[in-house]
């Protein structure tokens, strides 16, 4: 062990945050980096970039970073890939880390891509397992929507990896841990940056799908409740269908509320206008990996499975006992979701004392 510890070297972790609020996935990455660093005599440096973000340093230490490189500047107040990537690349050129880990978020993925060009190296995106041997990182990642896995290596340094959300588990927090904060300056001046962030429009909805532990998901079946009577001013058949489905999603929302879950949907539900695209699970939606996925009125098309096949426990509620979703389901109910879901909400309320 002692000899291995003398190897040295650093792993950089990009701590992704939105307006100063770190994504839970950032801590999963710090934890994974700490584990590998510990096994290989390396240390972990967390990169915290933004404005007024110094408070992110403390949890970064507690989750396992030994050092925080902190850039606090007006030009970094809003996330923009150009100044962020330029700074990450500059810091990497200065300290020559063995690897840079990012969470697989919209920001993490594009920063890794851009830094790879600056540093003339490669990116292994959406990694679910990491090995380090002979000075080289080998990572496992799903390809073809998870139908296959690939072992991927990067021959250049630093190896840039983005780690799939919820693939590495949440690390323990050690509130006794602290470390050194090194302040760093931005790599670009404002007048060298060709983009400006004008505004934000937040999405509605409680829990973000990507890192949800529990997801209640609805499909086309949600519109199938002929006994629900739409208000008289809705005369168009298509609008009636949408209205019915929206009542269905309200009902799902109540179950989700009791379970502290996020609400997902099939593409058929999204395309029919029942619910916004932000909720779509699947190959052309979000890939999720919750502990519990409750699929209601979803048939289980291959493109839908692509987005949720790694869920730990799948529950399917469907009228059709032949629906393919049942093959993946730990528990199945063959029945009308309009009867089962309200009863299930009630049952959980009683049991979870909500």
């Amino acid at each position: 062990m002692a000899t291995r510890h003398s190897m040295g070297g650093k792993i950089f972790v990009y701590v992704d945050h939105f307006k100063g609020k770190p994504l839970p996935a950032s801590w999963e990455v710090v934890g994974a980096a700490r584990k590998i660093a510990g096994e290989n005599g390396m240390s972990v440096s967390a990169l915290v970039l933004g404005q007024g973000v110094e408070r992110i340093a403390q949890p970064a230490f507690q989750y396992g970073a030994g050092e925080v490189l902190l850039a606090d500047d007006a030009s970094l107040a809003d996330y923009r890939p150009e100044p962020y990537a330029a700074l990450i690349s500059k810091l990497a050129k200065d300290s020559q880390p063995e690897a840079i880990f990012f969470p697989t978020s919209t920001r993490g993925r594009e920063l890794a891509a851009m830094a790879a060009i600056d540093l003339d190296t490669g990116v292994i995106p959406d990694v679910i397992e990491i090995e380090h041997e002979g000075g080289k990182f080998t990572a496992t990642r799903p390809i073809y929507a998870g139908k296959l896995l690939a072992k991927v290596t990067c021959s250049a340094k630093p190896a840039l990896l983005t780690l799939r959300v919820r693939a590495f588990g949440k690390p323990d927090k050690d509130i006794g841990r602290s470390g050194d904060i090194t302040k760093v300056s931005p790599a670009l001046n404002e007048d060298q940056i060709a983009t400006k962030v004008v505004d934000y429009a937040p999405t509605e909805g409680r829990v973000s799908l990507g890192d949800a532990a529990v997801i209640v998901s609805g499909g086309r079946g949600l519109s199938n409740n002929p006994s629900l009577q739409p208000p008289a001013d809705i005369t168009d058949e298509k609008q009636k269908e949408i209205w019915r489905a929206q009542q269905g999603f309200k009902m799902l929302g109540e179950l989700a509320e009791v379970l502290g879950a996020a609400v997902g949907a099939s593409r058929a539900a999204v395309d029919a206008g029942y619910i916004p695209y932000a909720h779509q699970v699947g190959q052309t939606g979000k890939v999720v990996s919750p502990d519990l996925y409750i699929a209601c009125g979803i048939s289980g098309a291959i493109q839908h499975l692509a987005g949720m096949r790694t869920a730990k426990v799948v529950v399917a509620i469907n009228k059709d006992s032949d629906a393919p979703i049942f093959k993946l389901a730990r528990f199945g109910v063959v029945g009308d979701l309009y009867e089962v879901i309200p009863a299930l909400t009630k049952a959980f309320k009683e049991r979870l004392h909500k």
């Binding site: 959406d126 690939a150 400006k196 962030v197 934000y200 519990l292 493109q303 009863a343 979870l352």
Partner: protein, 259 residues
């Protein structure tokens, strides 16, 4: 406006993908245009409809990739170019991005280079941001809508889809954009478009003809693995009434320890 849109040919999303002697096989499933790239083509076409100009669709691949280009032509793109070279074998994302950037430069005076979000075979989702970096252009990725574009002032304002909702960003042209599904359903190829595309002679360029060469791959994938078959013990929950079913199900779920 001069626009380039990048389209990849991939196995259909419904394909049963498996390993045969360590090599990927998708049986008799068809090869199709990458679904995300249909949104990219839609965005490219809608830009020229509003501002005039022409769209060139570009694909890197072998002869078969001409089918993806024909789909783009049938949707309404004016031109298509295939980049085909034995040296593309084993190329990594950065390499693809370098070739895409070289193609953009070869076409000259491109205002917007449009990419899909991700290729559904390799699932990497890196090319757009990499190409932007190589070109030194703004990277406006994951664009859900183009709020405004001024060809004279050379400015663009987009809404980007991020985890937290939408980020509205303004940038200068030329720029790289990648498109997500919110942009709107891609149009179907018209009958006329299909006829035109079926007759089109698609030029094929080698890397030398592009004025570039195959970049050395930093990323290699020495081993492909079939994911371990998940053993799911199915249990159907029954009961005399919805309430009884629900009570049984809730108890079982709680017993799994996932809440």
């Amino acid at each position: 406006m001069k626009i380039a849109v990048f389209v990849k040919q991939v196995p259909d999303s419904a394909a049963k993908v498996a390993l045969e002697n360590g090599v990927v096989s998708w049986g008799d499933a068809p090869l199709v245009i990458n679904p995300w790239d249909e949104y990219a083509v839609e965005a490219a076409l809608s830009l020229t409809e509003q501002h005039g100009g022409e769209v060139t669709a570009i694909s890197l691949g072998d002869e078969s990739a001409k089918e993806a280009l024909k789909h783009a032509l049938a949707m309404g793109c004016g031109h298509a170019i295939l980049i085909s070279d034995p040296a593309l074998k084993g190329i990594d994302s950065a390499g693809v991005a370098r070739v895409c950037a070289a193609a953009v430069q070869k076409l000259a005076d491109i205002d917007v280079a449009v990419f899909g979000k991700q290729a559904i075979d390799s699932d990497t989702g890196l090319t757009a941001a990499m190409a932007a970096r190589i070109l030194g252009w703004p990277a406006l990725t994951l664009v859900a809508s183009i709020a405004q574009l001024d060809p004279a002032a050379k400015t663009i304002r987009v809404q980007r889809g991020i985890e937290e909702g939408r980020q509205i960003v303004e940038g200068k042209l030329p720029a790289v954009i990648s498109i997500v599904k919110d942009f709107g359903e891609p149009r179907y190829p018209s009958f006329m478009g299909i006829r035109k595309a079926s007759k089109a002679e698609i030029p094929s360029l080698t890397l030398a003809e592009l004025g570039t060469q195959a970049p050395e791959a930093k990323i290699t994938w020495p081993e492909l693995i079939s994911p371990p078959k998940r053993k799911v013990t199915n249990e159907m929950i029954t009961g005399a009434s919805a309430d009884e079913i629900a009570a049984n199900l809730a108890d079982k779920i709680i017993a799994e320890g996932v809440l």
